[in-house]
């Protein structure tokens, strides 16, 4: 019997597993956290109560969970994914005891979701500053709102979604600083009428934020953070050109999402294993596309394993609709004024936190007459060479390189990050102790 491994228990992974099960194909779904759901349907841990979500969202998650409620779907939670080696072997690490295992399968569906984009500003790497998604993880898992004065800053719909959830949980944010001005695009917003559920959820969040009366600074941006006493001070550049200093206990940043695919191999529909990508890790389009894309990947895997032709058009139509919806959202949230260019950042602003590399370090490296490639910048400047393997600095480094050298082709993310396992650092002791090439059948674990 064919073995399929699915990496990631978010909407795409759950949907792929359910689709495979419907086709009678067994799969093992790996999830790094203790609960399923992914970023959007993240579940409370222990005895915490779930955060309030819309009826549509609750039903969507229930449907996904019903799809995997079959012996054909085996779950391995608290298991992180370390990548796929040159022999097609999947490496995993247990979050509870740190042990490493190597798994073989006929097909693997990578559904590792998205990572947040964070525009660097001076002080983005200070303790107390996190991503908005990071703040949301804690809120959803513990059902306890983060304490203190919390400033949300950046760009995109997640900021108001998080603000609405914080309001419902009992500690509204101090302020939302949003580069776009979504209320200034009524015509574009009208286009969202074609996307009923998305519009209903977005409207709900927006109304919550407007009703709460918390300052929602649109067309504004955060330009720097400093630590003062036991708190943080954020410098805000408002739409009217005014600068304001706001004291906060915590600051959450968010500038959109991108595919969480660093280090992952390219998709391929032959070989062992077959490698497919689903959801945000293939193209960051959000939850609606992720569910459809999980179905697509599940159907494609089933067809490839059985050697028949998959009919994927209907999934592609659904995904195309979400591409259109995301395009509308991007238009609605487009920065109202041009954001300060990365090249205007002060030299001491951190670009690569892991290796402590700054804007000035990159500028100094680029003064040679030849156009250094992304790989040379990585090697000689140590950008994207650290523990996060470029997940938070590679894109910013590439963008700043492009801004500083408009006449040289910009490096790709892959030039800076490479494409190899392990996709995250792993204990040497655990690697040595790993069992080689076990099959998933022997180790069934249900949460």
């Amino acid at each position: 019997m064919a073995e399929v491994i699915i990496i990631g228990g978010g909407p795409a992974g759950l949907s792929a597993a359910g689709t495979l099960a419907k086709a009678g194909i067994a799969s093992t779904l790996l999830e790094q956290r203790a609960t399923l759901g992914g970023a959007i349907h993240r579940q409370p841990v222990g005895s915490a109560k779930p955060v309030s979500v819309s009826t549509a969202a609750r039903h969507r998650f229930e449907r996904l969970m019903q799809g995997i409620a079959t012996p054909l779907v085996r779950l391995r939670v608290s298991t992180t994914f370390l990548g796929i080696d040159g022999d097609g072997c999947m490496l995993t690490e247990s979050r509870t005891d740190g042990t490493v295992a190597a798994l073989k399968a006929d097909a693997v569906i990578l559904a590792t979701g998205a990572v947040e984009k964070i525009r660097p500003v001076p002080g983005w790497d200070l303790p107390g500053v996190s991503t908005a998604g990071g703040l949301q993880v804690m809120l959803k898992e513990t059902s306890t709102p983060p304490k203190g004065r919390i400033l949300l800053a950046g760009n995109g719909p997640l900021l108001i979604a998080l603000a609405a959830q914080m309001i419902r949980a009992g500690n509204p944010p101090l302020m939302i600083v949003e580069a776009g001005n979504p209320l200034a695009h009524p015509v574009a917003a009208f286009g969202l009428l074609a996307h009923t559920t998305l519009l209903r959820e977005a409207t709900g969040y927006t109304l919550d934020v407007l009703r709460s009366g918390i300052p929602w600074k649109r067309g504004a941006c955060l330009t720097g953070i400093t630590a003062r006493d036991d708190a943080l001070e954020a410098t805000i550049l408002h739409a009217d050109g005014r600068t304001e200093i706001v004291a906060a206990d915590r600051i959450a940043l968010h500038d959109g999402i991108r595919e969480n695919d660093i280090g992952l191999p390219a998709a391929r529909n032959n070989g062992k294993p077959i490698i497919l990508k689903a959801g945000d890790c293939r193209q960051a389009l959000g939850v609606f596309a992720a569910v459809a894309d999980g179905e697509r990947a599940g159907s494609e895997a089933a067809s490839l394993l059985r050697g028949n032709k998959a009919a994927l058009t209907r999934f592609e139509r659904r995904i195309d609709r979400q591409v259109a919806a995301q395009r509308l959202l991007a238009h609605i949230f487009a920065p109202a004024l041009p954001l300060p260019p990365l090249s205007a950042l002060p030299d001491d602003c951190t670009l690569c936190r892991c290796e402590g590399r700054t804007v000035g370090d990159l500028k100094a490296l680029l003064t040679v007459k030849d156009g250094l490639s992304g790989r040379e910048v990585k090697h000689n400047g140590r950008f994207a060479m650290g523990s996060c393997q470029g997940r938070f600095c590679a894109a910013n480094t590439a963008a700043l390189m492009a801004a500083l050298r408009p006449d040289v082709p910009a490096p790709t993310l892959r030039d800076l990050t490479g494409q190899r396992w392990p996709v995250r650092p792993v204990s040497i002791a655990a690697l040595i102790g790993a069992a080689s090439n076990e099959t998933t059948n022997d180790h069934e674990v249900r949460s």
Binding site: G46, G98, T131, M138, K147, C388
Partner: protein, 84 residues
């Protein structure tokens, strides 16, 4: 030792069942998780194990505090292995 605390740099930190070490430290008001192996401050950031910026040592093993559930009696120290 109480059954719902772990030790952070020798001090007891309360946690609720299932909570990550990072969440428990944050709830206790600890934002700075101390120096990493290169001497740079670590802190909770992405929440999903991607940024490696919240590394701590748990019973001597280096791990992401955002992805590691707290459990009673764990000895958690900063990633750089220094005390204070």
């Amino acid at each position: 030792m109480s059954d719902n605390t772990f030790l952070w740099q020798g001090q007891p930190i309360a946690f609720t069942a299932g909570e990550s070490i990072a969440a428990a430290l944050t709830a206790a008001g600890i934002m700075n998780f101390g120096p990493d192996m290169a001497g740079r401050d670590t802190r909770y950031f992405c929440g999903i194990g991607a940024c490696q910026g919240c590394l701590v040592q748990v019973d001597g093993r280096l791990t992401e505090s955002c992805l590691t559930p707290a459990s009673a009696g764990l000895q958690v120290t900063n990633a750089g292995g220094t005390h204070g």
